[in-house]
């Protein structure tokens, strides 16, 4: 019993710190941020930033000073980016990339909760910064997250319910069904809003409300926000990649397929972002509620259908 616990603890730590956790996720986050910028640049006929650019940006931001902050508000403002980074890193660590990597019943729910933390932190950060642009950005983020999260959660829950498990590794091992593909499409529709990409880049709409909730952030705090954004990329595309990827027994094949699929998804999302313009907030909200309606009908209908067949 004690031995089991020790081994479980060791695998959990290895997953959190090495693969797919911090040691893999931080360079992957920088790489995905670069892919995003490079893809947009190529789409616009530019050459784009050099390969190491997100890394240089991160180091440079670490070396900058921050404006003085005082009191509880200042303390909170310093805390939000750290909470966002740790939640996003935890979410990446939960992904069942390697076969037989452990995991527990219900880790899907924990993953969803952790994926939600960075956007909550962004909302809180905008409001605690006291800047009018931050507040507008936060209000937009709040409205947006209420609208897309219903589709997102519905998709994941219908996938989990149709396969009778809330464990990520069990889901990754099971063969996919039509309902799962429906769910993956629904998740893909939500990802641009979750990652603040065009056409749903409302919260950080540059040229419009400066940098939204990030307006008052500088230096190392901003570096943490960039990192948490990159980790969100890794976690969100990784979640889709684990749902798409077939189960492999060889660990290095599984890891390679995971990285390749995530890379493809980042490319797809960046190309969509470069090809579209920002929508208005009411158009966005209407779009997601219509999606909710369509997916709700489809998901409930197919779940019932699968019940009868079983």
């Amino acid at each position: 019993m004690n031995m089991d616990l020790l081994i479980g603890l060791k695998t959990a730590l290895a997953r959190l710190l090495i693969f797919p956790g911090l040691l893999f996720a931080v360079p992957a986050a920088w790489f995905f941020l670069w892919v995003e910028r490079k893809a947009v640049a190529r789409m616009q006929g530019r050459i784009g930033p050099p390969f190491m650019q997100p890394f240089f940006d991160f180091i440079k931001l670490l070396g900058k000073s921050t404006p003085p902050r005082s009191g509880i508000g200042g303390l909170l403002m310093r805390a939000w980016p750290l909470i966002a980074v740790s939640a996003a890193a935890g979410a990446v660590g939960l992904l069942p990339v390697l076969p037989a990597s452990g995991g527990f019943e219900g880790d899907l729910i924990l993953l969803l909760a952790l994926l939600e933390v960075p956007s909550m932190c962004i909302i809180a950060a905008g409001f605690s910064s006291g800047s009018i642009f931050g507040e507008i950005g936060s209000a937009r983020e709040a409205v947006l997250s209420v609208s897309y999260n219903i589709v997102f959660l519905l998709a994941i829950i219908s996938i989990a319910a149709s396969q009778h498990t809330f464990s990520l590794s069990a889901l990754a091992q099971l063969p996919s069904s039509p309902l799962r593909w429906l769910g993956i499409v629904a998740i893909l529709v939500c990802l641009p809003a979750k990652l603040h990409l065009n056409p749903f880049s409302l919260p950080n709409a540059e040229q419009e409300i400066y940098s939204g909730p990030m307006t008052e952030y500088a230096g190392p705090e901003l570096a943490m926000w960039e990192l948490s954004h990159g980790l969100e990329w890794v976690a969100a595309t990784g979640l889709v990649a684990t749902l798409i990827a077939p189960a492999f027994t060889l660990w290095w094949v599984a890891a390679l397929v995971f990285v390749a699929l995530s890379f493809g998804l980042v490319l797809l999302l960046s190309v969509v972002a470069a090809a579209t313009a920002r929508l208005q907030i009411d158009t966005t909200v209407r779009f997601y509620w219509q999606c909710t309606l369509i997916f709700a009908v489809l998901a409930v209908a197919s779940a019932l259908f699968m019940r009868f067949r079983a």
């Binding site: 910028r37 640049a41 616009q44 006929g45 530019r46 050459i47 784009g48 930033p49 050099p50 190491m52 650019q53 890394f55 240089f56 940006d57 180091i59 440079k60 670490l62 070396g63 900058k64 000073s65 921050t66 404006p67 642009f133 540059e206 040229q207 409300i209 400066y210 940098s211 990030m214 307006t215 008052e216 952030y217 500088a218 230096g219 901003l222």
Partner: protein, 182 residues
């Protein structure tokens, strides 16, 4: 210099984030600054990013002859940029007040209000000259942060038609223009 300082210096030189501020310019210089980010010149290759908030920026790009209305705004924004920082004066206006000299609505030139690191002359300067100025400013900023040097303004050479030889990139741009026309 140890390894971390070297890395920091290198990163600062390769990641200049700009904040663009109009101090009463005629809009000519502002258009050229934006043009330096477009596909033809693509300043992002040097890591340049135009930021929405002065808090994120390293380099403050100021255009225009500094009107009375703009003085306080410029000082506020200069204080909002977090250190280490540099200021680039774009165009002849912030350097000399240019064609607006002796106007009673002006309180220029710029270096009466904030310390300027790089002057990019021209009315308006070409996008190549602006990119060159920004790169110079990033270099100055990295060196000054590492060695705690005092501010010493640098005036960039004129670039463009009629000043061939001043800068090699001017000649190549002209060549490309000829090719496009041909």
């Amino acid at each position: 210099m140890n390894l971390w300082n070297k890395l920091m210096c290198y990163s600062r030189r390769h990641s200049p984030w700009l904040f663009h501020m109009n101090g009463g310019s005629c809009n000519g210089c502002d258009i050229e600054l934006i043009a330096s980010l477009t596909p033809r010149y693509d300043a992002e290759q040097l890591g340049v990013r135009l930021e929405g908030s002065p808090r994120h920026a390293d380099i403050l790009c100021i255009t225009g002859p500094v009107t009375h209305n703009a003085v306080n705004a410029i000082k506020t924004v200069y204080d909002q940029v977090c250190g280490p920082k540099a200021v680039v004066a774009i165009g002849s206006c912030p350097a000399t007040t240019n064609v607006f000299i002796d106007s009673r609505t002006l309180d220029g030139p710029l270096n009466r209000h904030v310390p300027v690191d790089v002057f990019v002359p021209g009315c308006p300067p070409r996008p190549d000259a602006i990119i060159q100025g920004v790169a110079k400013a990033a270099e100055i900023l990295a060196e000054r942060a590492a060695k705690k040097l005092p501010i010493a303004p640098v005036v960039m050479p004129l670039v463009g038609p009629g000043c061939e030889g001043a800068c090699p990139c001017a000649a190549t741009t002209e060549l490309k223009n000829e090719e496009v026309r041909a």
